[in-house]
């Protein structure tokens, strides 16, 4: 995993030159369970949520608290962002990284989707949501309910009616 915990805090403030070493400016993120992650501002900016906070000057010396994201998931999101800002042009490498990245249990994928949604990381949302969509393309109605933990609230007659309406989709 690319995320590391810092042994000393780095202050990101108005006193530094803003154009020199732009990429190496760090920002601290705190997961919901209090773990601390140091990331480059560039990687953090992949999250529109954090990017807006940085732009609006809402990031204090301590860093950004993310009460909605647990440490294991945050670590994965950070790994994704670091990889994507590191070599955005190497399409083949990125493709195989992405394929490996989403090769996880569905409940983990759902956790990443929730985090990516909260953090507003568009590329990660696209990747994970497309992966889930691809996996349910040929699933039956029952399998889809099971996957998302949804309770069937139709009466048997209602369900039969819906299936009949678009019969060809159920064949």
């Amino acid at each position: 995993m690319a995320a590391t915990t810092a042994d000393g805090s780095k202050v990101v403030g108005g006193g530094e030159k803003s154009n020199v070493d732009e990429e190496s400016k760090m920002i601290t993120l705190f997961s919901s369970d209090g773990e601390r992650f140091e990331v480059t501002q560039e990687a953090a900016a992949m999250s529109q949520t954090i990017h807006h906070m940085m732009e609006d000057g809402c990031v204090d010396d301590e860093g950004v608290h993310l009460p909605n994201v647990g440490s294991s998931i945050l670590a994965m999101v950070i790994e994704y962002c670091n990889r994507h800002v590191a070599s955005p042009d190497e399409k083949e490498d990125i493709r195989s990284f992405d394929a490996g990245f989403v090769n996880v249990e569905h409940h983990t994928l759902f956790d990443i989707i929730r985090a990516a949604n909260y953090l507003d990381v568009k590329e990660l949302m696209d990747l994970c949501c497309q992966t889930v969509a691809d996996s349910i393309k040929s699933k039956s109605v029952e399998e889809i309910r099971e996957l998302f933990g949804i309770v069937n609230d139709f009466t048997p007659e209602e369900e039969a009616e819906i299936r009949k309406e678009n019969q060809w989709a159920f064949e």
């Binding site: 969509a133 393309k137 040929s138 889809i144 609230d153 299936r163 309406e165």
Partner: protein, 413 residues
Amino acid sequence: MAEAAGGAPQLPDDLIIWEILMRLPVKPVLRCRAVCRSWRRCLTSDAKFLRAHHSRQPSLPLVTTQEGQEKRIDAMDHRAGERRPVARTTATATATATAEDLDVLASCDGLLVLIAYGGLYICNPATRQLAPLPLPSHVSCIAGLYPHRPSGSYRLLCCVKTDGRAVYHVHALGSGELRCVGEPPEPWASGDVVTMMPMMEFLKPHVLAGGRLYWHPLKLPVKGGGKVNNMLVFDTVAESFRHVISPVDGACIELFETNDGTLGLYDYNGDTADLWVLQDYERWVWSLKHRIKLQMMPFFLLPDTNGDMIVLSEKGENTGLRWQYLQNISGTDGSSPTRYEWNVFLNLKKLRFKQSLVRHPFFSMEGSNNDGAVDEKPLFEGLSTVTVDLDDDYEPHTEESMVPKSAAGASHP
């Protein structure tokens, strides 16, 4: 999967519907309507969802073909390497042993105008809504299918040949009326052009971009002698015609609507393709975006809204005209990772199809018996996807295919 429900909270419905289900093709979306009530509500009648879902669908070229007793219209998906069925006719018991004529004349927002079973129909293959089009027999060709933005209705532009002159009419679907909108400017209103219009429309159909219908340039005579590459345009809101000069003079020109609703033009000649975009409609100013160096010489080119192109090229000297290649070329970097085996019996139309689950009231208004499947004349049943063979010997070219613009934004008067 049992542990999926334990402990961790599930994804909220909103997120599932708008971020995941939105990405599904039509068939699984229809299945998802049976999952639970809240999904059914959104996936069936939330207009915003249905429109957004439609806009995400791939825009696939249509192909007509005959296989045995069956005539088919398919959509060619070059990413999956498949021909997806859209509609088909079979030999009916009373007709002759050959399949009834089947062809597509217009495609817009998931709607198709079809000739089938001896009649003209408007249909939506995704919802299987179908209705006959009550157009009089003196309509010589369908010149356009488009949404009329101010009223929200869908309309057909038809050409009626009257005393050797082209007179255009508009039919708003479901209205039962055919309203005259006048003649186009000379030289489009009379002479050989009028006779040729149906064939022209068949080979190089109209293109809808930014609320206007454009037809491919024709070399037509001008006052004072000579000929120019003339383009006819119909403004669907003002309901008026205009004719303009094509920015390029070549014979191999393809018009298309770009992602942001402007008119694009590919001028391909030999092994290059120049992309032009209409910058200013009123002043008729175009700019040359870039030139792509192709690795083959296409004889057929169909652009997509993002600038990608589906092209057909011939295999080679010893294989004759029967055997061809189909490939997709990226409009951004000229790359083409795969190539497919194609042949002359697969007729690629210059029309693209993008599935839509949006339902339209005009289907019941046009006078169909029901507003679902029409079983007496099956068009949508019993269809299967056909795999298209990859050319295993194809090696994608790795050299740079984009040629920098020599003139900065050259515009054409």
